[in-house]
Symmetry: C2
Subunit: 284 residues, 2 copies
């Protein structure tokens, strides 16, 4: 795995996620980091997220390759990378959806070198400037369809995640996409549309400034997220998100009816039941 | 205004807001605090939020009375209090809706002693245990229909808010309710219904624990809010909230159509436009 005791790691996509991997892996002096990014390479080098550029001809030299580009670009990049890796190399992606990527690489001769991963970590900021070394510390890392990854490759990946302080959990890729639609993608949509509603209605923005409290800021925080990252995520996870959205809209409609009919007791009972979510998120 | 240089302040409703007023006002040793609360009086005395009980017969001795009960109870309490105050006393409420309260006290002989106020401060927690002295520091305090309050009473109120470090802004009570529906009440509903949707869909709560990140926690935070506080607020501000909800649901439906049709370019353009909210909330 190592030449002269140096592990060569290539990172494709040097935004918040890829860049933070670069920073988190730098503590280990036996690691040399190579980066590739259509738009952000110079910035990433300037910020020191990676040590040097990852040109395509260097791919076969890498011990590990991390793909952290927008989800819709991952299938093609994954196939290209798998076509060119050396034996024993580990490749993993970090996308927020997993099933389409799983499908794209099914049957690839080097499928066993690939691990589908999704570190559940992020902020509302994006790009290389948003990267920071502790992003993944203490976070959950979902890994999917692990029976398709060769055991020694899986172990190599596990070691990296362990060293970074992540807790790894396994799940089927389709199950992953269904659950993540509810607990992540739907929150982003609810937040984006809340932002839109308020922007539409408050033509005079001064009122948003003055009257919005910390509650609004918290609820609308995800509306700052990158459209370049999130448009592909929404598209890639279309069906589970449509289902989650439908449920959400139904619940809002039902609330509207309770309000319209001024049904206080039913509304209070409903809100009390929802309060239970507090016991769950307080443990996050 | 003062007897023996002591200002007597009565607080009706000793939850998060009333209790925090008690704590914030204690720094001034010339103030004696009296509290009234159907459920929480003992707890509030034990926590030292106020110095002693405010029985109804003490109302005429108060220099200032703060009404911080659920919004649907404020109109009746405001009228009772105004019936019994001494000349020169200041009475203000802290409710999240203002117009119905304004209507309830219109024409009261002591209307000039009353100020409609709404300190835009709070957390998702409630009750006397949630109170803390710095809750209002640096926050906006909306005051409404101030031409109905006698100038010397208004000045007295302004002094208190200034001393507590709040920035006071004036607005018509109906305008206030319309704007606050969008920037506060709607966020609470979107958060409550997000909580409900996820709880409904994720029968196995373990998945919420493991897969929910900080984004979900932020968006659903307000779903922990007290049903006793919020059911009345939603009911009191029914019409503006129904309008805001309708807009919100329309926006979610429109998003669903973009997703269903996989209209990437329109979705990206939409999200980019919404990103503008970031520049606004970053200033909060």
């Amino acid at each position: 795995m190592k030449e002269n005791n140096i592990t060569k790691i290539g990172i494709v996509g040097l935004g918040l996620i890829g860049g933070s991997f670069g920073l988190a892996l730098q503590n280990d002096k036996t690691i040399r980091l190579y980066g590739q990014d259509k738009y952000h390479l110079d910035k990433a080098l300037e910020l020191g997220l990676v040590h040097e550029s990852l040109t395509d001809d260097l791919i076969p030299q890498m011990d590990i390759i991390i793909i952290a580009t927008p989800v819709d670009t991952i299938p093609q990049i994954a196939k290209n990378v798998l076509d060119n890796i050396k034996p024993g190399a580990l490749v993993f992606d970090t996308g927020s959806t997993k099933h389409k990527i799983a499908q794209a690489i099914t049957g690839h001769p080097n499928r066993g070198n690939f691990l589908l991963a999704h570190p559940i970590a992020g902020t509302e900021y994006s790009g290389p400037e948003a990267a920071f070394s502790s992003l993944f510390k203490g976070k959950i890392n979902m890994i999917c369809d692990t029976h398709q990854t060769r055991p020694e490759i899986l172990e190599k990946a596990q070691q990296i995640f362990d060293n970074m302080g992540m807790q790894t959990l396994e799940m089927d890729s389709q199950e992953h996409d269904k659950h993540i639609a509810y607990v992540s993608h739907l929150s982003h949509i609810s937040s984006f549309m809340l932002g839109k509603t308020v922007l539409d209605l408050e033509k005079d923005e001064q009122n948003i400034f003055t009257m919005a409290g910390s509650g609004f800021a918290s609820t609308v925080r995800l509306a700052k997220s990158s459209p370049d990252t999130w448009t592909p995520i929404f598209m890639e996870n279309k069906m589970p998100i449509l289902q989650a959205l439908e449920e959400y809209i139904d619940n809002l409609q039902a609330f509207k009816v309770l309000l319209y009919r001024e049904n206080r007791s039913k509304m209070k009972a409903l809100l009390q039941k929802i309060n239970h979510i507090g016991q769950i998120i307080n443990k996050l």
